[in-house]
């Protein structure tokens, strides 16, 4: 159901959408049934003159089963949901497939710096390409990202990938994704990070192999990655001081 509202562009996004549908069918059935029973009872047992209510304690076994049986059904449904969610969680967060390429994502108040590995496919080499607020990736390649923060908590969120991971200062957190569709979408910071939190967006550009290599070629011609990385890692001088706070609207 989620894909009606937002496309899915990653390999594990479909699994998460499937989990949503599964939970919706299971809890939706129980939810509607319970609501129907409540409204039926309210109507059926409305006050009528001369009709006295029944005296039931709910402690007798034959009475209590009316709440226990639905309750066993809830347990069974929970078990199904747990099994599926754990399986998908393993795929998304724990079993990282071997990478085709690596990127480094550095969050800071209130920009994203993306370090692409460049033509050699390795980070921390001279041909790295650092960009601010746009991330270029290639369709059908498996990426590992190294997520870092320079100041406060941020959260690397790519809704079309169904991907989200907090960036914690002092740590490097590794995750993965594999884009399956070309296009350009939002990257969000999904963790409150201060006055500029509402501006901390970026774009992800998923490209075909051909246009990705063209982009790569353009970058190497204009500047070396190292120089840009050094330049952009400095905190951009954005006007987010207390006095200029008023300029946001």
């Amino acid at each position: 159901m989620i894909e009606y509202l937002i496309p899915n562009a990653s390999s594990f996004g479909g699994e998460i959408d499937y989990l949503f549908d599964l939970i919706t069918y299971i809890v939706g059935f129980w939810f509607i049934l319970t609501q129907a029973i409540i409204f039926y009872f309210i109507f059926r047992f409305r006050h009528k003159d001369g009709v006295k209510a029944q005296y039931l304690s709910g402690e007798e076994h034959h009475e209590a089963r009316w709440v226990h049986w639905p309750h066993y059904a809830v347990i069974a449904c929970d078990v199904i949901i747990i099994i599926v969610t754990v399986r998908i969680w393993l795929d998304v967060k724990m079993d990282l497939p071997p990478p085709d390429d690596k990127i480094r994502v550095v969050a800071q108040q209130w920009t994203w710096i993306f370090v692409h590995s460049g033509p050699d496919g390795k980070l921390d080499t001279a041909d790295d390409i650092a960009t601010v607020n746009d991330l270029h990736v290639q369709k059908d390649k498996t990426y590992h990202f190294e997520l870092q923060s320079k100041d406060v908590l941020h959260d690397f969120s790519v809704p079309v990938f169904r991907l989200k991971q907090d960036a914690v200062p002092g740590r490097t957190i590794t995750g993965w994704f594999k884009p399956t569709k070309t296009g350009e979408w939002d990257i969000q910071c999904a963790e409150m990070c201060g006055i500029g939190h509402g501006l901390m967006g970026a774009r992800i550009i998923v490209e075909s192999a051909e246009s990705y290599s063209q982009w790569l070629a353009r970058q190497s011609v204009t500047k070396t990655g190292e120089a840009l990385a050094a330049a952009s890692v400095e905190k951009p001088s954005l006007p987010f001081t207390k006095e200029l706070n008023r300029s946001f609207e």
Binding site: L5, F41, A53, Q54, T85, E191
Partner: protein
């Protein structure tokens, strides 16, 4: 009075002299549990007006970004952060907590247990005074240089720990101070509730004769007292980080920001049950009374309440699935989180079963009580999505979480409170509320409530993340369709706020001019209905004795369809 043991020793003025007290000692420095309950209630309602106004301002900003909001003006991103942060803080800590636990606990526990006051009346008064101080500190934090704290109500460091990051040097420290003071106040109150319930019950009242709302308030305060320690410790550490430069939560000095999240949520999740349980207890009282039915499965409800309480300590890290904790923890907490749906579902089933075979009258309190069940169910089932760790990867910090949360907390803090106020109003103030105005208020609140939050589920599913003052900065979220949903939710919100006027009119009109209430207008069984309406200082002319459980409605041996606890035959 003498046979209630400890209660006999308290220092309140003798009952026969209470009318001589001047205004100050009767209403301001009173040790009477009912007056203290009212103090909490009115302070909570006043804070609810502030919290509601904040919601109005930031919802207007979201619907019409950048335009001047009537009664407020331009909303900057700093203002927006401050408004959402303090809306959350106020509604949970200064509305739900004081009204549901402190006001209802104070008002109901001695009355329902058939004793004349709390066992520690002065401690009780001190508890309110510290609470009032905490509210004042919080309000001052809005107007200090730099403005109020804007780092979200969860106050995650490093943002909250350093003025360099949050730009609210004083605001963030006063926020932490206010929260810590407030917790200290409730600790004092909690001790009092437990001791009173254990030691000062009316003669003949066995443990299984205690009304379920009193049980639930007691379980809630146990949860509160057992969980709040780590957070108070955390608040002190955060305050030290802010003010004297320690590094408990700052990685630059060797600290760990994720530690705060554990301390916060170790308290924060039981806190959900701390406010949920009293509201569920209130609903139990109301649905039994107005369906003239014995509560279905009293002991089952009681034991599942205990189970919920124990389990609520094992689920906290489901708020942290993507926070950088070891992913293996995700599996453990997904399992415990889904497990906690089991006792809560059981309690809900018992409530529904209570309606079966009843004689249901849809009075205003009953409408509120039933709507609690109906609305809370949606809050409950949407929790399953978020407890499923893999699903939470997508929904974490989106409007889906926000809508889920409000489908639990709105029933708790708003519906639960209106259920309680409309039900006990005759006992509190000796007059009946107007039913017509009550029903207008009910429908005018419930319908817009659903119109606010159902669109927000959809926005969350579309990937809209929280705490953003202007979605035009995110091209995928700036579409016309999504903006229409935001405008719709905001319009419903304004309508809902306007429909609170009938309640305020009804409340104050009935307070002075309502029809006089008899002792037991709803023909209920519990002991508070034995006292005069309004209940005088000292509560009962002579302390009642208890002969049976609290829910003996429509008993075949009873002459009428109710059988009060204090009637011998």
């Amino acid at each position: 009075m003498s046979d209630t043991g400890i209660a006999a020793g308290h220092a309140a003025a003798p009952h026969e002299h209470h009318e001589e007290m001047d205004f100050w000692s009767k209403y301001v420095f009173s040790t009477d549990h009912k007056i203290i309950g009212f103090q909490y209630m009115f302070t909570g309602m006043f804070m609810a007006l502030i919290g509601g106004f904040m919601a109005y301002v930031f919802r207007m900003q979201l619907a019409f970004p950048g335009e001047s909001v009537p009664l407020f003006g331009q909303v900057t991103s700093g203002d927006y952060n401050m408004l959402i942060t303090n809306h959350g803080t106020i509604m949970i800590f200064w509305v739900a907590m004081p009204v549901l636990i402190a006001a209802l606990g104070n008002y109901l526990i001695p009355l329902m247990l058939g004793c004349d006051d709390m066992v520690f009346p002065r401690l009780n008064r001190l508890s309110y005074q510290i609470f009032l101080l905490s509210a004042i500190v919080l309000i001052i934090s809005f107007i200090v240089p730099g403005g109020g704290f804007g780092g979200a109500w969860t106050a995650y460091p490093p943002l909250s720990a350093s003025a360099e990051y949050n730009h609210t040097d004083w605001g963030s420290s006063l926020w932490v101070l206010a929260v810590a003071l407030e917790f200290a106040a409730f600790l004092l109150g909690g001790i009092n509730f437990l001791t009173t319930s254990m030691n000062a019950r009316a003669e003949g009242m066995k443990m299984m004769d205690i009304p379920i709302v009193v049980w639930m308030i007691n379980v809630a305060v146990i949860l509160f007292m057992a969980s709040v320690g780590p957070l108070i410790a955390g608040a002190v550490m955060l305050f030290l980080d802010q003010r004297i430069g320690t590094s408990f939560f700052l990685p630059a000095g060797g600290g760990d920001p994720v530690l705060w999240q554990h301390l916060f949520w170790f308290f924060g999740h039981p806190e959900v049950y701390v406010v949920l349980l009293p509201a569920m207890g209130v609903v139990a009282e109301v649905i039994t009374t107005f369906s003239r039915k014995k509560l279905f499965g009293y002991k089952t409800i009681l034991y599942t309440t205990f189970a919920t309480g124990v389990l609520s300590f094992t689920v906290w890290a489901h708020h942290q699935f993507v926070s950088g904790i070891d992913p293996r923890m995700g599996n453990i907490f997904a399992v415990t989180t889904l497990l906690i749906s089991i006792p809560i579902a059981e309690i809900m089933f018992c409530y529904v079963a209570t309606l079966y075979g009843g004689s249901i009258r849809l009075t205003t309190p009953m409408l509120w009580g039933l709507s609690f069940i109906v609305e809370f169910l949606l809050g409950g089932v949407t929790g399953i999505y978020l407890g499923a760790s893999a699903m939470d990867v997508y929904f974490h910090d989106t409007y889906f979480v926000l809508a889920h949360f409000h489908y639990t907390f709105f029933p708790i803090a708003i519906i639960g409170v209106f259920t309680a106020v409309t039900y006990w109003f005759p006992k509190m103030f000796g007059r009946m509320m107007n039913e017509t105005l009550g029903k207008i208020h009910f429908w005018g609140t419930i319908i817009p409530f659903n119109c606010i939050f159902i669109p927000l589920f959809l926005l969350g599913m579309a990937g809209q993340h929280r705490r953003i003052y202007n979605y035009n900065n995110f091209p995928d979220l700036a579409t016309e369709n999504l903006q229409d949903l935001r405008v719709f939710a905001t319009s419903a919100m304004v309508i809902m706020l306007l429909f609170q006027i009938p309640f305020i009119v009804n409340f104050f009109y009935s307070l002075f001019y309502g029809e006089k209430a008899e002792k037991n207008p709803w023909k209920a069984n519990t002991l508070e209905w034995v006292a005069e309406s309004p209940a005088p200082h000292g509560n009962f002319k002579e302390l009642p004795k208890v002969y049976r459980g609290p829910y003996e409605f429509s008993h075949p041996d009873a002459k009428e369809d109710y059988w009060p606890q204090n009637v011998p035959n």
